[in-house]
C-alpha cells in the first residue's frame, strides 16, 4: 500500500520530479563512465604489467636483487623446473638470462637489459611479440645469425630509425589529396636520409607551408619513417668472469609497448646467442617467469608454496614487481566508490531540497493522513520510499546509459593521442578501452538507496513534527 502511494506521489508533480531524476541520471552516467574509464585503464596497465613486463610470479636469486651481477644465478634450477612442470596451477613458464649491457652503433649508444630467452617458451609467457611495429621486422622469425628484438625507443637512441622521402611516399601523399606544389617541394629532398626525427622535422618545416604540415605532416612523418631492420648492434658487457666481452647482434624486430620505461630498458636475444660469450653454463639463469592458470585465486598461495619449497630463492608476485599496478589494482575499487560518493553527496542536497518542497506543499494532506490514523512509522516510510524511488529511477536510467557508453567505448576505444607521450612515460596506454565489473552496479544501487534514506531524514522529520490539527487548517 505505502509503496503504491509513494510511487504515485513521486509523479504528482512531474516537472519537479523529472528535474531531480535528470540530475541523478546525469550524475550517475558521469560517475559510472569515469569509473569505467579508469577501470579499463587500470585493467590495461595490469594486463601489460603481467603479460608484457613481469608475468604473475618471478623467481630470482635474492642476491641478484641487491646486486645485479651475472654470477647470482638461480640455485636448484632443475628442482624448480621439475616442480613447475608438474604443477597444475601453472599455465606457462620460462627462464631468462639477464645482462646489463651497453649497446652501440656507429651513431649512438644506450644501456640495456639484454634478456636471453627461449623463443618458444617466451611467447607463452610474454606478449611482446604482439607489439612489433609495422615495417619493424618480426619476432625471431627471420633466420639470420644473432637476431635481436629491440624497442622503438632503443632504435631511436641507437639512430636505427631514418626518415626518407621515397617515391612510394610521394605517391601515397598524392592519393591523400596533396597538391602539386607540396609534391614538388617534397621531391627536393627525395631519397635524402635524415637520421633523427628532429632534423627531418626541421627540414619539413623549412620547405613546407604551415597549412600543409598541419594537414599532412603527421602522415608524411609516419610514411617517411624507416626502421633499419638487420642493422648491427654491438654489445659490451662484463661477462661471468668479470671480463669485458663483446658480441654483435642484428636487429630482427622492433617493438613498442605502452610502457616507455619498459621499452627503454629491454632488448631480447636468443639465449644460445649470448651464453657462450657471457660464459653461462647450461643451467645459469637469472629469472624464472611464471603465468598462472587462475591468478586471482592462486597468486599468493602459489607464491607461499614456492617460497617454502625453495627457501634460497626470492619469489615475487606482479604486485611486488610492478608496485604501481599492484597498488592500483587494490586501491581502484575503493576509488570508484569514492567518485560515486562525491557525486551522490552533491546530488543529495538537490534531493533534500526537492523532498522538503514536496513535504511543505502537502502539509494539509499529511495532516489529514495523520488525523485519520496513519501512524508516524508509516508517514516516515512513505516519505522515505518516495525519496528512494525518485533517486533510484534516475540512477537506474543513469547506470543503463553509463553502462551502454562503457560498452560502446569499450569496443571502439578512446584515444588520448594528444597526451600520449605523458601517459606512456608512466606505463599507461593512450588508447583506453573502458570496462567495468557488473558488481559495481550492485554497489552503486546499494549506495543510491543509502543516500536516499539519509537524505529523506530531514524532510521526513519535518513531516513527523506536524501537528495534525494545525496541519489540516493550513491553506
Amino acid at each position: 500500500m505505502i509503496w503504491n502511494i509513494s510511487w504515485k506521489n513521486v509523479w504528482r508533480n512531474k516537472a519537479r520530479s523529472l528535474v531531480v531524476v535528470c540530475a541523478v541520471t546525469l550524475g550517475t552516467i558521469s560517475g559510472v563512465f569515469v569509473a569505467g574509464m579508469m577501470n579499463g585503464w587500470v585493467d590495461q596497465r595490469i594486463r601489460s604489467a603481467v603479460y608484457t613486463e613481469v608475468s604473475h610470479i618471478k623467481i630470482q636469486n635474492p642476491k641478484y636483487l641487491i646486486n645485479e651481477e651475472l654470477k647470482h644465478t638461480i640455485p636448484n634450477i632443475t628442482e624448480i623446473s621439475d616442480f613447475l612442470n608438474n604443477s597444475d596451477k601453472v599455465s606457462a613458464w620460462t627462464k631468462h638470462t639477464k645482462i646489463i649491457a651497453m649497446a652501440s652503433t656507429s651513431r649512438g649508444s644506450t644501456a640495456l637489459n639484454l634478456k636471453g630467452i627461449n623463443v618458444d617458451e617466451e611467447i607463452q609467457v610474454s606478449n611482446v611479440k604482439d607489439f612489433i611495429v609495422d615495417n619493424g621486422g618480426d619476432y625471431f622469425e627471420s633466420g639470420f645469425k644473432n637476431p635481436i628484438v629491440i624497442s622503438e625507443k632503443t632504435a631511436d637512441q641507437l639512430r636505427l630509425i631514418n626518415y626518407i622521402i621515397s617515391q612510394e611516399l610521394l605517391d601515397s601523399i598524392t592519393d591523400l589529396g596533396a597538391d602539386a606544389n607540396l609534391i614538388s617541394s617534397l621531391s627536393s629532398i627525395k631519397n635524402k636520409r635524415f637520421i633523427t626525427e628532429k632534423k627531418f622535422k626541421a627540414q619539413l618545416e623549412s620547405i613546407l607551408k604551415p597549412n600543409d604540415i598541419k594537414e599532412l605532416g603527421a602522415q608524411i612523418m609516419k610514411l617517411a619513417k624507416n626502421y633499419k631492420v638487420r642493422s648491427k648492434i654491438v654489445f659490451t658487457f662484463s661477462g661471468m668472469n668479470g671480463e669485458m666481452s663483446y658480441q654483435s647482434f642484428r636487429v630482427c624486430g622492433i617493438y613498442k609497448t605502452n610502457n616507455a620505461m619498459f621499452d627503454q630498458m629491454n632488448a631480447f636475444v636468443k639465449e644460445e646467442n649470448i651464453a657462450t660469450v657471457a660464459g653461462f653454463m647450461p643451467n645459469d639463469y637469472h629469472e624464472i617467469s611464471i603465468i598462472l592458470k587462475d591468478d586471482k585465486e592462486n597468486l599468493t598461495s602459489f607464491k607461499d608454496e614456492l617460497s617454502s619449497k625453495f627457501p634460497n630463492t626470492s619469489v615475487m608476485t606482479w604486485k611486488e614487481l610492478a608496485p604501481d599496478a599492484g597498488m592500483m589494482a587494490d586501491f581502484m575499487k575503493i576509488y570508484y566508490y569514492i567518485i560515486m560518493g562525491v557525486i551522490f553527496f552533491a546530488l543529495a542536497f538537490g534531493i533534500i531540497n526537492t523532498m522538503l518542497m514536496a513535504v511543505l506543499e502537502r502539509i494539509k494532506e499529511l495532516g489529514m493522513l495523520m488525523a485519520v490514523g496513519m501512524n508516524k512509522k508509516r508517514v516516515f516510510s512513505m516519505i522515505m520510499l518516495e525519496t528512494i524511488f525518485l533517486t533510484l529511477v534516475g540512477s537506474i536510467v543513469g547506470m543503463l546509459l553509463g553502462g551502454a557508453l562503457i560498452v560502446i567505448f569499450g569496443k571502439i576505444g578512446m584515444n588520448f593521442a594528444s597526451v600520449q607521450e605523458g601517459f606512456e612515460a608512466f606505463g599507461w596506454s593512450a588508447m583506453v578501452y573502458p570496462s567495468i565489473d557488473l558488481s559495481f552496479f550492485l554497489g552503486v544501487t546499494i549506495m543510491v538507496i543509502i543516500i536516499a534514506i539519509l537524505s529523506s531524514v530531514i524532510p521526513a522529520r519535518k513531516a513527523l513534527k506536524l501537528n495534525p490539527v494545525e496541519a489540516i487548517r493550513t491553506e
Binding site: 644501456a111 637520421i195 648491427k232 659490451t236 662484463s238 669485458m244
Partner: protein
C-alpha cells in the same frame, strides 16, 4: 715447340694473375699490419701529448703523459689543467680503471661508460680499449692510390668480418707508401654514410722515426666540433716493467 707456346703463355698468365691477386690481398693486410705496428707494435713507449677539444661554444686543452707496454698495457696521467691534474687511467688487457685523486677513488670503467668520450673528447673509451682490432676484425683490400699532403698513399678499404664486434660498416684508410703512416681514416656506418674522419698531419721525426704528430678527429654530422691530439714528444722502446702498470702505481705517478 710452336704448339706449346700458347699453352705456356696461358699458363703463365694464370700463374701470374693468381700470384698477383693473392699478393695484392695479402699486401693490403700487410700494409695495415705494418701501419698498426707503427703505433702499437713497439715493445714500449713513453710520451707527452696535448689534446684540444673543440666544441661550437667552447674549447679546452688537456695535457697528459702516456706510457705503454706491448699492446695490452697503457697508463695515462693528466698533467693539465689543474682541475684534472693527477687523474690517471690504467688499461690492462680489456679492462680500464680510472683514479680520481680529487675524491680518492679508483673506478673500474663499466661497460656503460665505454661509449662515452674520453675526458669529454670525440675519442671514446672503447677506441682506447679495442685499438688492435683493425688487423683482426676486418678484411682489407687496396682500392687505389692517392696523394695526401705530398705523400703517396695507398687507399685501403676495411670491411668488418661478419661476426666482428665492430659498429662501423666500412673504414677507409690512406696509408703512405713509404713509412706506413696513417694519413687519413674515414669511418662509415652500415649505410655507407660518413660518421667521422681522422686526420694525421704534421709528419715529424720523433725518437728515431717519422710519425704524424697531430691527429684530428672530426665527427661528420656535428658542425664546429672536433678533437685534436698533438704529440709533444715520444720515445719508443724505453725500459719499463710490467709492474709499472698497477693500480698502486696510478696513485703514485707524477
Amino acid at each position: 715447340m710452336k704448339t706449346i707456346k700458347p699453352l705456356q703463355s696461358a699458363l703463365l698468365t694464370v700463374v701470374l694473375l693468381f700470384s698477383f691477386s693473392s699478393a695484392f690481398t695479402q699486401n693490403a693486410t700487410e700494409i695495415i699490419k705494418k701501419a698498426d705496428d707503427k703505433w702499437n707494435g713497439e715493445k714500449s713507449s713513453q710520451g707527452t701529448m696535448t689534446m684540444t677539444i673543440v666544441r661550437p661554444t667552447w674549447e679546452r686543452t688537456i695535457q697528459f703523459k702516456i706510457w705503454t707496454l706491448d699492446r695490452d698495457y697503457s697508463m695515462t696521467l693528466i698533467t693539465a689543467p689543474a682541475k684534472e691534474k693527477g687523474q690517471a687511467f690504467l688499461k690492462r688487457d680489456t679492462e680500464m680503471w680510472n683514479w680520481m685523486p680529487s675524491i680518492s677513488r679508483m673506478i673500474k670503467l663499466p661497460p656503460s661508460m665505454m661509449a662515452d668520450g674520453w675526458m669529454g673528447s670525440d675519442y671514446t673509451n672503447d677506441d682506447v680499449l679495442k685499438e688492435s682490432s683493425i688487423v683482426v676484425d676486418f678484411n682489407h683490400s687496396i682500392i687505389g692510390s692517392e696523394t695526401i699532403d705530398g705523400w703517396d698513399c695507398w687507399k685501403i678499404e676495411l670491411l668488418p668480418k661478419e661476426d666482428a664486434a665492430v659498429v662501423w660498416g666500412k673504414i677507409v684508410k690512406w696509408i703512405s707508401k713509404s713509412e706506413y703512416l696513417q694519413m687519413k681514416t674515414e669511418y662509415y656506418d652500415e649505410d655507407e654514410f660518413l660518421v667521422k674522419t681522422e686526420l694525421g698531419t704534421e709528419i715529424k721525426t720523433m725518437d728515431d722515426r717519422k710519425i704524424p704528430s697531430r691527429l684530428e678527429i672530426i665527427p661528420a654530422d656535428k658542425d664546429n666540433q672536433k678533437t685534436i691530439v698533438t704529440i709533444d714528444n715520444i720515445k719508443f722502446n724505453v725500459a719499463i716493467q710490467n709492474s709499472f702498470f698497477s693500480q698502486q702505481n696510478m696513485k703514485r705517478l707524477r
